[in-house]
């Protein structure tokens, strides 16, 4: 018998740490780094996700080329089973790590609601096909990146800034001699360049925390019972080549069952390939060294899908029928004019079909312009990106969002076509705009308008101001043909509260129905 000097478990930990570090590295690199083109495939995590690949391809009714790496995941799963969940998945690593802070209430080896993930998977796939793409609500990577990008990372910056502002303001010189270089180093390496602010930051955080808090129910409860990606990998693992084999004549100890974080081992010590994530903890824990993982499949009957046929059909039917109701809303007739999609976004239906709500575009947007929608694009559009021009604007020379989008929901545009893509149109509110409403000179908007021939121009007008004097002021107006909807005018408008110039989706080039009078191309 071989003596275990380096427990298998440690190899897995190492792999998890490496994968998680790689994930964090790519997460931080999802940013402008001094070059217009991103140097790394920062979105690779989403492109190896077969759940998202399947759902977006079904929604698009075409194989999405960008997502071909997902096939690799499937091939590896066919060989090794659900190894991904145990060895690579960053959320899996996070759960394994958090597990030490929770004592699960349910200690029985059997998983609760084990089949839920299959119903969910069926529902998501069918719904995607029938026009309700909501996989991103449940996809583990989407949940993770969204939570980190929209809440955790910005909060980290708040924490660092508050701490180092405190030391800077209050601490004696010698303390600053230490803290200031540390702060500079952190800013240079891990901290975001700017403080960002996001819609739905707290909700995204709450969802991520809930997934972690599920550890209180059972170890890896999310992976066992909810994760639809796990469900898909489980289905594929049914045919995998590598399997765990338990000893036929072992004693009465239940070490392996007790230790299995996935509830994969039954009373007869059969290891279900559908649940097993190849963590190999059972191998290390077996006092008789009777468990082994080998390429000799199917000697053990895989645990059946334990699905209730009726419930399963029900979940499929729901996925097929619910989308019908989406068509009955007013939103189906008239899109929300406040919904501004990033430059290069596909027409709305295609866009929603492909958008996997991963938050990559929002993370990368250097203008802090992109935010997750709540209900602006309907219940099925939650967490898809929209531009909130009062918070931030689309930087004229920037093309990053198209570069990071893993599914092509935002087309990758070169700088020049991007600068000609109209994502909306600005309008003036003359009741607020100072030169109109109060006879006060301003035109900050015109100053910032980035189009080489300005989309904001002005006429001189004489106005009676609030002191009843007649004054000459420049009054701005929009030239629709030139405005590209970048929104910098709304962002920089110096008025408190509402801006006097506001962006709407009118005229967006992805939607010919939305053309403005005078700008419409014949179609």
């Amino acid at each position: 018998m071989r003596k275990k000097t380096f427990p298998l478990n440690n190899w897995r930990r190492l792999s998890q740490i490496l994968c998680f570090s790689l994930f964090l590295f790519l997460f931080i690199k999802t940013d402008y780094t001094g070059h217009d083109q991103l140097a790394y495939a920062v979105n690779i995590l989403f492109r190896i996700d077969p759940l998202l690949a399947l759902c977006t391809s079904l929604a698009a009714k075409a194989f999405i080329q960008l997502m071909w790496p997902a096939l690799l995941t499937l091939i590896f799963t066919l060989i090794f089973g659900r190894f991904f969940c145990g060895w690579a998945c960053p959320i899996g690593a996070l759960l394994d790590f958090s597990q030490r802070f929770f004592t699960p209430v349910n200690k029985k080896p059997n998983s609760l609601f084990r089949s839920l993930k299959y119903y969910l998977l069926g529902f998501l796939i069918i719904a995607a096909f029938f026009g309700m793409p909501v996989a991103g609500y449940f996809d583990p990577f989407s949940i993770l990146v969204r939570g980190l990008a929209l809440a955790v990372y910005p909060a980290m910056n708040v924490a660092a800034a508050s701490f180092f502002t405190f030391t800077y303001d209050q601490a004696p010189q010698w303390v600053n001699a230490i803290t200031e270089p540390v702060y500079a180093f952190l800013r240079y390496t891990v901290l975001p360049f700017d403080q960002k602010h996001y819609d739905l930051a707290l909700l995204s955080l709450a969802i991520l925390l809930t997934v972690i808090a599920f550890e209180k129910i059972q170890r890896r409860f999310f992976c066992r019972s909810i994760c639809p990606l796990g469900g898909l990998l489980a289905v594929v693992s049914k045919f995998s080549l590598m399997r765990g084999k338990s000893g036929t004549k072992c004693g009465k100890c239940t070490n392996c069952q007790d230790i299995c974080p996935m509830g994969a081992i039954d009373q007869e010590r059969n290891i279900s390939p559908l649940a097993c994530n190849l963590c190999l903890d059972c191998v290390d824990s077996c006092p008789g060294n009777k468990i082994s993982f080998t390429f000799s499949p199917a000697t053990v009957v895989p645990q059946v899908f334990n699905l209730s046929r009726r419930t399963f059909i029900g979940s499929l039917a729901a996925g097929a029928v619910l989308p019908l109701f989406l068509q009955t809303r007013s939103l189906a007739k008239q899109g929300n004019p406040q919904l501004i999609r990033p430059p290069g976004a596909l027409p709305e239906d295609d866009f929603l079909g492909r958008c996997v709500r991963c938050g990559e575009c929002m993370k990368v947007c250097i203008g802090n312009a992109l935010h997750p929608t709540f209900l602006e694009s309907g219940i099925e559009g939650m967490f898809s990106p929209t531009l909130k021009a009062r918070i931030g604007y689309c930087e004229y020379n920037c093309t990053l969002c198209g570069q990071v989008c893993p599914t092509g929901a935002i087309t990758e545009l070169a700088v020049q076509p991007k600068q000609q893509t109209k994502i909306g149109n600005a309008i003036f509110d003359k009741n607020l705009c100072l030169p109109y409403a109060k006879g006060i000179p301003c035109i900050v908007c015109e100053e910032h308008c980035p189009t080489p021939e300005k989309a904001i121009q002005f006429r001189m007008a004489s106005v009676i101001n609030s002191k009843r004097e007649t004054v000459n002021v420049r009054q701005p107006y929009i030239v629709d043909e030139l405005c590209i909807g970048c929104g910098i005018c709304e962002t920089k408008c110096p008025l408190p509260g509402h801006a006097a110039v506001r962006l709407t989706s009118a005229g967006e080039s992805r939607n010919p129905q939305n053309a403005l009078p005078g700008t419409s191309a014949p179609y």
Binding site: I366, V444, P452
Partner: protein, 304 residues
């Protein structure tokens, strides 16, 4: 109030030792007494680094403005995500030349920064300033993005439109402040010249400056007073300022001018656009504050 007393207030405030906002009063008479007939050095040519040397020479050399051991702030305009040809930002070669002269004059530290209008990193890169400053191998040069914590509120006792502004600490404390704007069109201020460039050291919501812009720029100029102003007119933006973007709006003049009088140099630069000093509200307002001369007849031009 003299500058030394003011700086004491600034450092007490920023160290948290004082809760009263530093304030600054200028006494016009005192300024007038200091003032001699303003001189503008003018140089034209294709070699921008050489032009910088020429104008500095004709003003008596960089040593006149930077003493050995001084902390120097060089404040170019890097406000926009535009490249050097588009004439929205100060030409990187001019920035580089000035930094090198300051180093040669024995500066202890040369700080270069701007608070940008577009995304800060993009502006630093696309303007060409970041790359060119990297070629200067000296640890006495720092090129950085402004640090939020370093804006200090200042009461402007003589301010007419701006009574309190947040100003970057390094700009207030510098021994030598060299202002390096580019001359270009701006719809509201008519032109963006030297004094307007100082808006780059302001914190807070700068958009508010635009209501009565000319006066506010002049009020700011009572506090932020450059040791030297160098105006980049190597290429000027005639229309669609301040950021342009269209090369048809750019006119190449291959000219640099410099002066210690911030009003006189703005007044003179106006003529590049076929306008008169009186057309620029900030020039007029600063003249009335007693900050310098705007009468072209009283300004001495040294052509090199």
């Amino acid at each position: 109030m003299d500058r030394r007393e003011f700086l004491k207030q600034v450092s007490m405030w920023s160290a948290g030792l004082s809760i009263t906002v530093p304030h600054f009063t200028i006494i016009s008479e005192a300024l007038a007494a200091q003032r001699q007939a303003p001189v503008i050095a003018y140089a034209k040519g294709k070699d921008y680094a050489a032009l910088v040397s020429q104008i500095l020479d004709s003003l008596g050399g960089m040593e006149k403005f930077v003493k050995s051991g001084n902390t120097v702030v060089i404040k170019p305009n890097i406000g926009w995500d535009r490249n050097p040809d588009q004439a929205a930002n100060t030409h990187p070669l001019i920035v580089k030349a000035l930094v090198e002269h300051a180093l040669d004059a024995g500066a202890k530290e040369v700080k270069v920064f701007d608070r940008t209008c577009n995304e800060a990193r993009r502006c630093y890169v696309n303007s060409g300033v970041q790359d060119i400053l990297k070629t200067i191998k000296s640890n006495r040069v720092t090129f950085f993005h402004p640090d939020e914590r370093k804006y200090i509120p200042v009461d402007i006792s003589k301010g007419q439109a701006a009574r309190r502004l947040e100003i970057y600490k390094d700009a207030l404390e510098a021994d030598s402040y060299i202002n390096v704007p580019i001359a270009k069109h701006h719809s509201l201020s008519t032109l963006t010249l030297g004094m307007k460039n100082s808006m780059g050291v302001l914190g807070g919501k700068r958009g508010d400056m635009h209501h009565d812009l000319g006066q506010k720029i002049a009020d700011l100029a009572t506090i932020v007073r450059p040791t030297l102003t160098v105006i980049d007119a190597t290429r000027i933006l005639l229309r669609n300022g301040p950021q342009g973007g269209n090369l048809n709006d750019v006119k190449v003049l291959d000219t640099i001018i410099a002066s210690t009088d911030p009003v006189a140099i703005d007044a003179y630069a106006t003529t590049f656009f076929e306008m008169k000093p009186g057309d620029i509200p900030s020039t007029v307002a600063a003249y009335k504050h007693g900050l310098g001369e705007m009468d072209l007849a009283k300004i001495k031009i040294i052509k090199t």
